[in-house]
């Protein structure tokens, strides 16, 4: 087993890995940019190394500095988390060359699955169904037009090196293709340093259901069941769950999708943790979408239902241990949900909201798991993803898990910055959500059909009283006119959310 592991990441996932290492008795080395000197992962790690200035290009993406830190601190392995360098084959390669174990798949597997077009070819050859579309990136606009025309509109543009919804554009009409291609390419270039984009047939209102796989260095490869991640906004997952309500109603889907996922992973010579993402259409046909060759943000829902610790298993198999179980040993119990808590303003078109957290009340109690990367007093930097924390719950059934999540959300509050906490409750109470009728366009539809919240006159009186008491003790006697909120913001908010 390793003696010391460097975590090439920040935020909640770095904290998650540090916790696992601590429980395993393995030393942890955090890395940080200047924006993160006081971040929770630095505070919690046994050791810490500075990488550079705040921009990730000068810190968390600096392969050489990370390897240098690992050397200086005597780490023998590197955990990449998700994002940043997690799916960078060059980084995995560099680790290996520096004598460090990369806690993840081989550089070769990352490379093969990292190119979305090669991945499609690879898994298609194994008989895994794929979404109709091109097997390779588009060379130019003319080729794009040809492929899109052949698939039939609407189509999706996707970054070949992509993930996490970046570099994606839906195109409904031929005349929108040029602008969308330009946007997707430039976003992909910025996010992944590759402007390559490919085209797929758009499946209308699909469900996003993915399969967690896990393999060791000895050829054992199992799947840990599915997660449904259909609740997305701008292609970013917002709420995830296990089991998928669809799979729960059609249990044979788990084995079928699991078997396809293992076949796809095996084709890439895959080991360690990875995820095969599928789109599922209205007829329960599933199509390979892509493979994420790393730990997922939403791995806790699988952990809560299977009782496994994916991060510890990643570390164990990376150190050469065989998987401690086989496929038939696995069992799924109860239901789990996860909400991704972002620093963004749901009342204002989800604009990011970095800044200092002046107040933080955190949920706990039965069945509640909070994976947070922040604390009261921390300043959320402007430089990175706005994910603050993940709130996951487990309960015996989906309905109980929903009730528990709502209860936990009531206990959760973040002050000083805006978060999407209030938004989750609205979704969780939605009739369609509760019925499990999910699809990737759910949130857009929901925002269109849901009106403003009813206000309770009884609560209004309490709010007015408390506000008056607060302001009397916090404000100078007011002698001048107050400035009202800019009508701009007020009206924009109303319009955008309608």
């Amino acid at each position: 087993m390793f003696r010391k592991v460097l975590i090439a990441n920040r935020g909640e996932i770095a904290v998650r890995v540090i916790r696992a290492l601590r429980e395993m008795g393995i030393g942890s080395v955090a890395v940080y940019s200047d924006a993160d000197r006081a971040a929770l992962h630095v505070r919690m790690a046994d050791e810490a190394a500075r990488l550079g200035p705040p921009p990730s290009s000068e810190s968390y993406l600096q392969i050489e500095r990370i390897l240098e830190a690992a050397r200086c601190h005597g780490a023998d392995a590197v955990h990449p988390g998700y994002g940043f360098l997690a799916e960078n084959a060059g980084f995995a390669q560099s680790c290996a060359e520096a004598g460090l174990v990369f806690i993840g798949p081989s550089a070769d597997s990352i490379r093969r699955m990292g190119s979305k077009t090669e991945a499609r070819r690879l898994v298609k050859a194994q008989g895994v169904p794929v979404v109709p579309g091109a097997e390779r990136s588009v060379a130019d606009l003319a080729e794009a037009r040809a492929i899109a025309g052949a698939c039939g509109y609407p189509v999706m543009l996707k970054a070949a090196a992509g993930g996490g919804g970046k570099g994606m554009r839906r195109v409904d009409r031929p005349q929108d293709l040029e602008a969308a291609l330009r946007d997707a390419s430039s976003e992909s270039e910025r996010a992944f340093r590759s402007a390559e984009v490919y085209i797929e047939k758009l499946i209308e209102n699909p469900r996003h259901i993915e399969i967690q796989v896990l393999g060791d260095l000895h050829g054992n490869l199992v799947h840990l069941g599915e997660r449904e991640c259909s609740i997305q906004r701008r292609h970013q997952k917002v709420i995830e769950e296990c089991p998928s309500p669809l799979v729960a109603a059609h249990p044979e889907m788990r084995a079928a999708m699991g078997e396809a996922a293992v076949r796809a992973a095996r084709a890439a010579g895959y080991y360690n943790a990875g995820t095969i993402e599928f789109l599922v259409d209205a007829h329960r046909n599933f199509y390979f979408l892509e493979m994420n060759t790393r730990l997922q943000v939403e791995h806790p829902v699988t952990e809560l239902v299977t009782g496994l610790d994916l991060v510890k298993l990643q570390i164990r198999v990376a150190s050469g241990e065989p998987l401690p179980f086989r496929q038939p040993d696995l069992a799924w119990r109860g239901a789990s949900l996860e909400c991704r808590v972002y620093a963004e303003d749901p009342d204002h078109n989800f604009f990011p909201s970095p800044g200092r957290i002046t107040h933080l009340a955190r949920p706990s109690g039965p069945g509640v798991r909070l994976d947070s990367g922040v604390y009261e007093g921390f300043t959320v930097p402007i430089d990175y993803d706005p994910l603050l924390a993940k709130l996951a719950v487990w309960a015996e059934s989906r309905q109980e898990a929903i009730a528990r999540m709502i209860r936990a959300l009531e206990e959760y509050s973040v002050g000083g910055i805006k978060t999407n906490l209030s938004f989750f409750r609205r979704i969780l109470e939605d009739r369609e959500f509760r019925a499990g009728r999910l699809h990737t366009g759910f949130i857009e539809e929901f925002l269109e059909r849901s009106g403003p919240l009813d206000e309770d006159a009884g609560l209004e009186a309490v709010a007015a009283l408390v506000a008056a008491l607060y302001l009397r003790s916090h404000r100078e006697p007011n002698t001048g006119a107050r400035v009202s909120p800019a009508p701009w913001l007020t009206e924009g908010r109303e319009r955008l959310l309608r």
């Binding site: 402007i382 000083g416 309490v462």
Partner: protein, 165 residues
Amino acid sequence: MNVRVRINQREASLDYRQDGETCRFRFESQQERDALVALVEPGVYSVLLDGGSFEARVEEDGEGVCVSLRGHRFAVEVLDPRQWTGGGRSGHLRGRQELTAPMPGKVVRVLVAEGDPVEAGQGLVVVEAMKMQNELKAARAGRVVSVAAAAGATVAAGEVLAVVE
């Protein structure tokens, strides 16, 4: 103390007097009632009223406060009765829209120039923050009278990027 409050855009009257933990108050034309109010944490009030237990969390929000209460949020301003003249002021600003940066970030693209006519919902400026590009749009139709934003510039929250009239 008799004050006027603006609560979620609606104006209302509030009369209250505090005596230790007890607060006798009347909201609008409702009955006069006694609330037990305890400040349990900074900005957090526990209110017992008519047998109910209410926990209210107050946060500064511009000139007023935002009160979170049982999953609802109320924007509340206490209006100075001497200054309040009945809504004339908000009318005064109605024709002018100042497009401000809602968060610190970097201007990626400016989509309009001075003098351009804009439609409601038209994108004006794209700001990148926290790895996401966010298009700031016009709330109403009008004409761009000034553009302060420049591509590549770093902007602070609240900074004016453009003005539309």
